[in-house]
């Protein structure tokens, strides 16, 4: 039995177990339900608004962007939080004490976070398909493109979530170092409001990051050709979207292992102990 392959198998098993446990947990069910309801309510109240002079209704226009935002948010903040937390609660240390425990742990995280994407997207997508008409304009090919983009988006963002979780000093700092930048990034990337509404330099910054391109790609997959009028430069740029996402994916896969190795090296019982004491001491 090859120990490394065995560890990866253990990791897959871990990810699957954690995913099932998350589905069964009232806490996580509540989270899915809440995000789903809020999003659907938002779309419902704006269901008759026309976007510009495109003739498209708001839900059709907004849904692809919202899915992109959910993906980015879930896949970056999810692993970042769980990594930072499991560094402090001793989960990571337990794996450090195992032979090939770290590859197993990371495989488990990747598996769990990828699987969790399904319920977090479906909880919005499925009810939306029942509630609103004309969401998908490109038929089966459109759906296949959506699936491909979701996978690519996952690859482009998940490693960075792991990097964030490994680099952030503590769970308490996650709000400042994790949530805030991601919220800003999602905010300027045309997910909540069209990016044209913002200043030129902000548009330029947004186009450096995968969030904008995932939203753009998904809109391209869902909407008719004519909807390009709502995009920057009034053209669809699917090739560029794929290229940018792929670049982020490759960069993430190169950076993440290094940062994770550094994090694993520094992990010790005293560190867990210190985190435990810090958590008990709210005011310092």
């Amino acid at each position: 039995m090859n120990p490394t392959r065995n560890a990866v198998r253990q990791g897959l098993r871990r990810g699957w177990t954690e995913f099932l446990q998350s589905l069964r947990s009232p806490q996580d069910q509540g989270f899915y339900l809440f995000t789903g309801l809020v999003t659907l309510a938002w779309l419902w109240f704006n269901r008759n608004d026309e976007v510009g002079d495109s003739g498209l209704l708001y839900p059709s226009f907004a849904l692809p962007s919202i899915l992109g935002g959910f993906l980015t948010f879930g896949v970056v903040i999810g692993p970042a939080y769980s990594l930072a937390m499991e560094r402090e609660d001793g989960t990571l240390l337990r794996h450090k004490a195992l032979p090939h425990g770290m590859p197993g742990y990371v495989t488990g995280q990747l598996t769990m976070q990828s699987l969790s994407l399904a319920p977090s997207l479906l909880v919005v997508l499925l009810p939306a398909l029942l509630l609103f008409d004309d969401l998908m304009h490109r038929g089966a090919a459109g759906w296949a493109t959506v699936l491909g983009l979701v996978v690519l988006g996952l690859l482009a963002t998940l490693p960075w979530g792991m990097v964030l979780g490994a680099a952030v000093p503590s769970v308490q700092k996650m709000g400042t170092w994790g949530m805030l930048p991601i919220l800003v990034l999602v905010g300027i990337s045309g997910i909540l409001a069209p990016v044209q509404a913002l200043w030129g330099w902000v548009q330029a910054v947004a186009q450096l990051f995968p969030v904008y391109w995932l939203g753009h790609g998904l809109r391209w997959a869902f909407l008719p050709d004519a909807a390009a009028a709502g995009e920057l430069g009034e053209v669809w740029r699917p090739g560029l979207a794929v290229l940018v996402l792929a670049t982020w994916a490759v960069a993430g896969c190169l950076v993440a292992p290094r940062v994770l190795r550094r994090m694993a090296r520094r992990q010790s019982g005293s560190q867990v102990q210190a985190a435990r004491e810090a958590a008990l001491q709210w005011v310092r």
């Binding site: 039995m1 253990q10 446990q21 001793g90 337990r94 032979p99 425990g101 010790s268």
Partner: protein, 309 residues
């Protein structure tokens, strides 16, 4: 201090281990061996560097200076095959709250399967292990709902799931009730006697050290100040016997280095008036306090001067 003859290759060999954080020196030159099958207990006051020492041996921390060999390898650079032979009992806090002990042990044990050999099968059978640590009752409950004692039993089970040849325990019985503590002591004896596991543990509990350890190391001020069996250590601190007696309803206490002549004289002097005679040899606690005090007062005259000024 007695030195152990180098009969077998030691499982743990520590030479001049030093550790400092910035200017703060935690370990100033630690020196000791642990031999196959031994149960060695590291005792010392808070902040003496017990945990640091253990973490260096576990390979979780790099020493500032000195050499450390554990199972024939440097823990800092040892590979995963080495890792499979070492067990670490960690103090869990709130990890894996949604898992059950049975599921967690099955999962963690899976990592050791590639390292099984015909003469040394790994990991332990989960059912057997749950039974051995006394966790059969809580085996299918969520870990978040376990009591403190059950959690610590689980920690011990996780530490030994891979059937280690060498086991590290850092304050394993902190938070145990007396029954759990007794059960844990039995478990340590069983691992040591039946499996031949070499065990290095730290504790604050002197009675525990006395019960478990073949050998005790006292770590204070960043080095080992005593190394020997509990009996040998007690003998090292001379004049620590205490004689108590009651005479005419009054209680007397007298510390003496030679209790036998003293008692003989006492009996000759008082005869039948003497009731309730008790001679108590210095225990490990007396030894420990004496040793720690001796070294702290010897090495910190400056600090004392500051306090009295």
């Amino acid at each position: 201090m007695p030195t152990i003859p180098p009969s077998a290759e030691p499982v743990v060999a520590v030479r001049d281990l030093q550790m400092s954080y910035g200017t703060h020196e935690v370990l100033t030159g630690v020196h000791f061996d642990v031999h196959p099958g031994e149960v060695v207990c590291l005792l010392g006051p808070n902040g003496a560097g017990k945990t640091t020492t253990i973490e260096v041996l576990e390979g979780f921390r790099l020493p500032s200076a000195g050499t450390v060999r554990v199972l024939g390898a440097d823990p800092a650079t040892a590979d995963d095959a080495w890792r499979a032979r070492v067990g670490v009992v960690l103090q869990s806090w709130r990890d894996h709250p949604r898992w059950t002990p049975r599921r967690l042990l099955g999962y963690l044990g899976g990592y050791y399967a590639p390292y099984a050999t015909a003469e040394h099968p790994r990991p332990y059978d989960v059912e057997w292990l749950l039974d051995t640590v006394g966790l059969t009752d809580g085996a299918d409950r969520k870990i978040a709902t376990l009591s403190g004692g059950q959690r610590r039993r689980l920690d011990v089970a996780v530490g030994i799931i891979g059937r280690p040849e060498l086991l590290f325990l850092d304050e394993p019985t902190a938070g145990f009730d007396p029954q759990a503590r007794r059960d844990f002591h039995d478990l340590v004896h069983r691992l040591s006697d039946l499996e031949g596991t070499t065990i290095l543990l730290t504790t604050h509990d002197l009675a525990e050290a006395e019960r478990l350890a073949d050998r005790i190391l006292i770590l204070t001020d960043g080095r080992i100040v005593a190394d020997g069996s509990p009996d040998a250590l007690a003998r090292e601190v001379a004049g620590r016997s205490e004689v108590r007696w009651t005479c005419d309803g009054e209680v007397f206490v007298h510390p003496t280095a030679a209790p036998v002549p003293f008692v003989r004289q006492l009996l000759a002097q008082h005869g039948d008036e003497l009731t309730d005679l008790e001679v108590r040899r210095a225990g490990l606690e007396d030894t420990y306090l004496a040793m720690v005090q001796r070294f702290e007062s010897a090495t910190r005259p400056g600090e004392l001067a500051e306090v009295t000024r």
